[in-house]
């Protein structure tokens, strides 16, 4: 039977002063992911191993880890794809380690919240007592839908060399999401987000290493969103940015036709 060696970063708060690497050798199954390997260790070898996971299908973004020196989702990384039978798994860099492979993502969520990651409506009455949907075209949707796939896994923040040195830098995830909402025609919070992004630790610190887009497991491309945000902000300061027309509200549905009567059964 083929074997797989998993070198796992361990850290127990209150006991360890620094982290260390522990090796586990486990049987390798066909189609096995790195997360499967970690679950095997937890179930059969060391139940104290701590890691975060949930959906096991690349949707929840819980199992972000540094796998062979690259930030990846453990559930989305088949062992075969790595082309080696020795894999090193570490906690995501640029985030403090809570225990073993569990990173503290609080700073990501705080920064994310700071850019108002929701549609800010100018029509407060309609927002509070909605009567119908806000309209948008397919073309408008295409302008931001790519950025709306973010699962907040933190891989882009772990990959970013600027986040590595500046703890206050907003980072690729929040800035990418700032652009996502700024391009949404239903949104009226552009000025507030521009103000937040135009800070000393904001959008201008991105020097386009492209690592965030490369690491993103959902194809969100935060590097593109950040550069487009810069352009929008520069055009805005030069008063060249086209103002979005507020999205109109969908017309009430036309009167429904009476239902066609169910035909009589032909066979009784």
């Amino acid at each position: 039977m083929q074997e797989l060696t998993l070198k796992v970063q361990r850290y127990l708060p209150g006991k360890d002063k620094k982290s260390y690497i522990q090796e586990f050798t486990i049987p390798l199954r066909q189609g096995m992911t790195v997360l499967d390997g970690l679950i095997y260790i937890k179930e059969n070898m060391d139940n104290t191993l701590s890691f975060r996971s949930s959906c096991r299908m690349g949707i929840c973004g819980s199992c972000g880890m540094l796998i062979n020196n690259f930030p990846m989702l453990a559930c989305h990384t088949p062992v075969e794809e790595l082309g080696t039978d020795r894999i090193e798994v570490r906690s995501l860099p640029n985030f403090p380690i809570i225990r073993d492979l569990v990173a503290d993502l609080d700073s990501l969520f705080e920064k994310h919240k700071s850019i108002k990651p929701y549609v800010v409506s100018s029509d407060t009455e309609e927002a509070e007592e909605p009567t119908a949907e806000f309209l948008q075209s397919g073309q408008e949707l295409e302008g931001y839908v790519q950025f709306a796939y973010c699962v907040k896994c933190g891989l882009c923040m772990a990959a970013c060399p600027t986040v590595a040195t500046d703890a206050l830098f907003l980072g690729p995830q929040p800035l990418g999401q700032a652009y996502r909402y700024c391009t949404d025609r239903r949104d009226a919070g552009v000025e507030e987000r521009f103000h937040q992004a135009d800070s000393r630790h904001g959008v201008w610190l991105c020097h386009l290493a492209g690592a965030c887009s490369e690491a993103c497991p959902k194809g969100v491309d935060p590097a593109l969103a950040i550069q487009l945000l810069k352009r929008a902000m520069i055009f805005d300061s030069l008063r060249l940015r086209k103002k979005k027309k507020p999205a109109s509200i969908a017309q009430p549905l036309a009167e429904s036709r009476p239902k066609i009567a169910v035909p009589e059964f032909t066979v009784k």
């Binding site: 503290d104 920064k111 352009r231």
Partner: protein, 149 residues
């Protein structure tokens, strides 16, 4: 913006890469290394300009001290150094031009709905990087042939 360590968070192990995060780039592709090289060449050019200005101060010491200094700079080791400065300048200028365009969102294309396998804007526009690198190599060879050899 930063979440301060309080209570149980104070027991968390810091894991920020720091300056190592600039140099250490893991398994990333070319743009990530160009980012590092751009900083290195920038720092190199800054050092060169500082030294250049300091050396020019020798003019104040008269013709003799100036000519003594120039005779040292005529040595082959310094010629190699000057060539490296020229190559660093070529790289920094051309890569800087690319970055200025891309920082404004130009040459990166438009957002596209993500369809697996995902290709990000940097990889879609990789030919721009290859053309830029080819230009840098061609100019470096030209400088070598025209001014050094």
């Amino acid at each position: 913006m930063e979440v301060k360590a309080t209570g149980s968070q104070s027991r968390h192990l810091p894991n920020r890469l720091g300056i190592k995060g600039w140099a250490w780039a893991g398994r990333y592709t070319i743009e990530r290394y160009l980012y590092t090289l751009h900083r290195l060449t920038g720092l190199g050019l800054l050092l060169y300009i500082t030294l250049h200005l300091a050396m020019n101060g020798f003019r104040l010491g008269g013709v003799e001290s100036w000519e003594d200094l120039m005779s040292v700079f005529g040595m082959s080791g310094f010629k190699v150094g000057e060539y490296l400065v020229a190559v660093a300048f070529i790289f920094h200028a051309l890569n800087g031009g690319r970055l200025m365009l891309q920082h404004l969102g130009y040459t990166l294309g438009k957002p596209k709905p993500p369809v697996y396998p995902y290709v990000d804007s940097m990889r879609r526009r990789r030919p721009i990087v290859w053309v830029m690198l080819a230009l840098i190599v061609a100019l470096a060879i030209y400088v070598l042939v025209a001014f050094v050899i």
